[in-house]
Symmetry: C2
Subunit: 491 residues, 2 copies
């Protein structure tokens, strides 16, 4: 700073990052408070790990080179570990479950929320820091834990403001899918590439439809732009088995399970998966979570490789308009599943775990789209400054208002231009402005301007409907708080 | 992971970082909720910037080299900017105030809380990630803004649970100090080193006492360990002027201000500072913030170089025991001041700003030391599993309890060993365990064990006082919720 020649720094949020202001912060907090209250009621405890992990613990070293995967923000400590920002909340949980395994209760139910970081190319609506809100149960082998997470997810969505009927939690099981792969002759180690293509194809069924998926199972698919995606090269018979799986959904969970049982044939893994789905369906039905909330749906795959059993996903079923004004389904806002091998990375011992992650920004966007945010974003009452020397009087007024629980502030900019004070009040969304000039001070009164009413009158030429509500009143100073409260209650 | 030879990663929090579990997270949240509610009532809006900033914007490039200061966690983007984790919440605010200067209301009042990161050597109780909670007003030149922050800080501390009398907010003004420097002949550009030593010496007066500070103003000081700290080399006359400043505090703000006015003599800057302190004292007195809450105290310096006017600090005045069991004052938990030049770095134009930062972890530690946390950390009611095949029944029970707002969960570990289930309930701090074996199921009943009462009875041999409260009851299944509630209310 002492060198005058140093050029001025740019005031810019780094590329791919963003700032959250006022209502955005308040709305997210209100939503997370509602969701975590549900998690708490289900017996889950909060956990907050540090934002920084060793790259080793994240498992994000590139194979064979001692350099972190490009997807994480990482740096090397002087002659020490590579450190990185967490890219999700699951990897830190696996580390915690291993590190504190002798101290934590088992099963360990925890929820966590906070930012995660991805070192990826930013795009429209794609940021390199975003919030997740997770709940996981570590150490519970029973699928009752998976069923519980699904029920809790449904409850959390409703608590956040998504009405019943506007969402559905879909449940599937990777073991069933792997059983189907066995039946289709795709289970060998040498078939890993094909299985990957099949998984990704099924994952896209909502977008591509059955024909698109079928093409990807075979030779491949040309999309609308002419780009060709190579397929898995399955034979017709193999593809039929897989397509049978994608269309196995029936009207009831029972019927879907029965159809899946046919499809997995004698595959032991597949049968185990079907049994698990049947148990989950029975547990949820017994608690009254019907298909209006949670359904068995073989279309759900979940991209991540680490899932080992049940997988689940919450979809919002209402339509919103996309950037081109076309209606489309809102889609997925949460997903998860069972990952029995993540803790094993550290300890060598398999530890059963299952959990869900809510995409906080997407769910917030959905609530905004449906007008269900419901956070009070009213600005403060503004006490204007007519006479700089009487600042103590003005601060006394806000003091009285705040003591009565009313959000209030004195205008602290340059008070010379009164118009600027009212513009400021407008920008803050203030409901009421207080004015006390010399005359009022001498008379022991204050003037209250109803800014909400004023704005309504300004928008609407006929004053008829407001004739009984004056937009401005003068009251004794002693009645300031009561008069402001009346004005706020009327607004 | 496909390579079996890869050694297992260590499950370790990175050095200098830590994890926060359960009650620690809940307690911090409860405290921040109370503090930010006060900020909100004062008209402050939340702001959440990204954790990542460009090093350029943070101003943390080392002079003359294109490499970030070692105090920040930084990394270079591929052929692009250096990025770094924020080290406080003030630098990002200055960036935001410059970047959005045409859109933000002016004055802009914002609060923010969240982790900040320091790339420093970790030590006992010294972490490289910790929370701050800040409130700042940008664009308000009047010291009314400083007075408001001091009043708000006092209110926030009381809201958090620090009782009146257990804290004091001390206010001073850098201009007064600089005026005193002028009088002492220490105002030239060539005297920067001396001024630095003087500032740091005054800052240590609580710890070193007047004699220690006096030594540091002169030749230097040898501490108890024998280490010598070089002094500012002031003449006796110069040192007397400075010492007069450190001992200028009088019983009332008015008297202190009068004494300071004598000390700054004809220094214009000093007189400006004294006038500002006088205004602040008058504004606070008019609102009833007496010396039991806020005092003018020339001993407050605040280390940071960027303060340009009023500075303030909140100290807790009660004693706690240090690590060696000796009583000592708890000390500072918050501090701040006016920094009119931080935004100027970006825009070239001076923007007045003032704000406070609360040391979240220190304040939490103080509340814990005083037993004023008051967060409910009761564990969930545990429904034990006596018969794995009746899991749906057990889940129905927790469903009923949760629907009634009672925190509850089914034991989801391996149910074979019933003792493990009770150990788990104990580890979770459960107040009540529910048991339904085959006999109870056949009879349509459940057994409730009062675990809190059980623990009390176990600690106390005489059962006399609990004779009317059975530690275990059997009730019809239909009365489960009511019976649990009775037990919780009695506990």
């Amino acid at each position: 700073m002492s060198d005058a020649k140093i050029r001025r720094p740019r005031a810019e949020t780094p590329k791919g990052f963003r700032d959250y202001f006022g209502a955005e912060v308040a709305e997210r907090k209100a939503m997370l408070d509602k969701i975590t209250a549900v998690y708490h009621r289900y017996g889950f405890d909060p956990l907050e790990t540090s934002a920084v992990e060793t790259v080793e613990s994240l498992g994000k070293f590139l194979p064979d080179v001692d350099r972190p995967n490009e997807g994480v923000f990482a740096w090397q400590e002087e002659e020490a570990d590579w450190l990185a920002l967490r890219y999700d909340l699951t990897a830190p949980l696996a580390r915690v479950a291993a590190q504190y395994r002798n101290d934590l209760p088992s099963p360990y139910r925890r929820y966590a929320f906070g930012p995660v970081w991805r070192n990826e190319k930013p795009g429209p609506g794609r940021f390199r820091q975003f919030y997740q809100c997770d709940a996981d149960t570590v150490g519970a082998p029973s699928v009752a834990a998976d069923a519980e997470i699904c029920a809790m997810l449904a409850d959390a969505l409703e608590a956040a403001g998504i009405e019943r009927g506007d969402y559905v939690v879909k449940v599937n099981n990777r073991k069933v899918l792997n059983g189907v792969m066995e039946v289709a002759g795709l289970s060998g180690d040498d078939k890993e590439a094909e299985r990957g293509i099949v998984l990704r194809a099924i994952d896209k069924i909502d977008r591509l439809g059955a024909d698109g998926v079928r093409a990807l199972l075979g030779e491949g698919r040309k999309d609308a732009s002419g780009d060709f995606t190579k397929g898995a090269g399955l034979s017709d018979a193999q593809a039929e088995v897989v397509m049978g799986f994608t269309s196995a959904k029936r009207d009831t969970g029972q019927a879907t399970v029965a159809r899946l049982r046919e499809l997995v044939g004698t595959s032991a893994l597949g049968l185990e998966g079907v049994d698990e789905l049947e148990q989950i369906a029975a547990l949820l039905a017994a608690q009254g979570y019907g298909p209006d909330r949670i359904v068995i749906d073989p279309g759900v795959v979940r991209g991540l490789g680490y899932y080992t059993g049940p997988v689940y996903e919450a979809e919002l079923t209402f339509e919103i308009l996309d950037e081109k004004g076309r209606p489309r389904q809102f889609g997925s806002v949460a997903g998860g599943g069972r990952y029995d091998d993540l803790v094993k990375r550290f300890t060598g011992q398999s530890v059963p775990a299952t959990g869900v992650s809510i995409g906080v920004d997407r769910l917030l966007a959905a609530l905004r789209a449906k007008g269900r945010i419901g956070t009070d974003t009213t600005g403060p009452v503004i006490v204007t400054v007519m006479d700089r020397d009487r600042m103590a009087d003005y601060m006394g007024m806000v003091g009285d208002l705040r003591a009565a629980g009313i959000r209030a502030e004195v205008y602290l900019g340059n008070p010379k231009n009164f118009g600027n004070q009212l513009k400021y009040a407008d920008k803050r969304g203030s409901p009421v402005a207080i004015i006390q000039g010399g005359n009022e001070a001498a008379a022991g009164t204050v003037i209250l301007k109803d800014l909400i009413l004023g704005a309504q009158i300004a928008q609407n030429a006929t004053l008829e409907e407001w004739k009984d509500r004056p937009a401005q009143v003068e009251v004794p100073r002693a009645e300031l708080v009561a008069a402001v409260r009346r004005m706020l209650d009327a607004g």
